[in-house]
Amino acid sequence: MVNDAVHIAVREMKMGFRNPWSYSFMGLFGLFMLCLLLINNGGYVEGYSSITGTMLNLILYLLPLMTLMLGAFSLTGDKEDGSWELLSSYPLRTLSFILGKFAGLAVVLFVLVSFGFGLSAVMGWITGRGLDAHTYILLYGYSISLALMFLAVSFLIGTVAVNRWQALTVAVAVWFFAIIAWSPLLIAVLGMMPYGWIKPSISVFTLFNPAELSRIFAVVKLGGGSVLGPQYYDWVRWIRQPMGSAGYIIAILVWVGASTGLTHWLWERGRAR
């Protein structure tokens, strides 16, 4: 089973690195990270400031959308070109297939993000506009975790969508909901609720939006937790401890586990039919 999964992962990586989409995304992300360097005319940056705040947001605009598209396209692609039909005729377990694809795509995304970060750090070093190491590692970890969680979401999209076009539509919709429409929607809905409900509701909803979850984690770890206000002080204090990082990693694992599990279940159901 593990062998099968590794086999699928290697196949996925090969396909990923042959896919022109991956390279255009890599180029885009690299270029974009370099652009962020240009904005940083103040020089060296440490902690939560306008540069790191802008980086957090711009990564949030670009990376989830790229991830959703790559992941969803990969799954619908397998359905469309008949390779899943072929694979399912072998004694290959669906779980090996799903995990293998997840691992393979995770490596592709890792390379994509690392290339962008590597390029910007080296250029920043040369031009004297780099980031402080701690801040840099945090932003890098933030990007990787964002990619992993949205990859998990993309698997659900790729599962429910029948073809690439549908996948694209759903991916953009999910992205818009999680990144752009999030606070307007919550403000509209929660604004009507009694005051005491707002904070618990937002806290719970945040757990269900990987974009917000990782943004808040990054802001707090960059030392900007106090700007989130008195209501979230206990959360902020908790996240700042090493325990907070552990909790965040668990949250990522739960996210990845839950959506790959759900994906697996849906594929199994489809296969049985």
């Binding site: 429910v160 549908q166 809905v189 609720m193 009694p194 005491g196």
Partner: protein, 192 residues
């Protein structure tokens, strides 16, 4: 695909219904019972003057009709909020007993005012649950004016030292130096 869309739609409808029900329940049941919240010294700050609120006898709070707790470091700041915002959204108002630090309904407390009583924003007012304790406090201080909540409505709410009325009327010994400094400041500005 169709199946998925339909089920998610019905789910969404039921979620909305649940929310509405919850809101209705909250407003229906929660309207009468306003409870004061505990002071968190790390995070609470006076809604009016921005000072951190110490968990002491001077702290006061308003619970609004929708359950928000507005905390103040001095009863004078609370009065200021009510002056600015009216009482329409005020559910309940709490002050603290000077001796026990217990929360009391604003309307039921007894108040002692004296300019010499030091409070965070210098309004010079403290509150008591029992009239006898308020009287004992006045006796101990050798000063003070006892008031009920109704009588407090006619209170002047002057702070120990009103900064708005200071200045040229102030004939204290500081006047000369203040004037000298002012001319000095002006010179400095012209110089730059």
């Amino acid at each position: 695909m169709m199946k998925w869309t339909r089920s998610s739609k019905s789910y969404r409808v039921s979620l909305t219904a649940l929310c509405i029900l919850a809101v209705w329940l909250m407003t229906a049941c929660g309207s009468k019972d306003y409870k004061p919240q505990a002071i968190n010294e790390e995070t609470d700050r006076c809604v009016i003057c921005n000072m951190a609120i110490k968990d002491d006898v001077f702290a006061t709070q308003i619970i609004t009709t929708d359950g928000q707790s507005l905390k103040f470091d001095d009863i004078g700041c609370m009065n200021e909020w009510i002056t600015q915002n009216g009482t329409d959204t005020v559910g309940a108002t709490f002050v603290r007993d000077y001796n026990s630090s217990q929360w009391l309904k604003y309307e039921k407390a007894y108040y002692v005012y004296d300019a010499s009583i030091k409070t965070p924003m210098a309004y010079g007012l403290v509150s008591f649950e029992q009239k006898t304790e308020a009287e004992a406090f006045m006796k101990e201080q050798g000063a003070g004016k006892l008031m009920t909540a109704e009588q407090l409505e006619d209170h002047s709410w002057e702070v120990n030292r009103d900064m708005m009325d200071m200045g040229s009327h102030d004939h204290s010994h500081t006047e000369e130096t203040a004037d000298a400094e002012e001319t000095h400041k002006e010179e400095e500005h012209h110089g730059k």
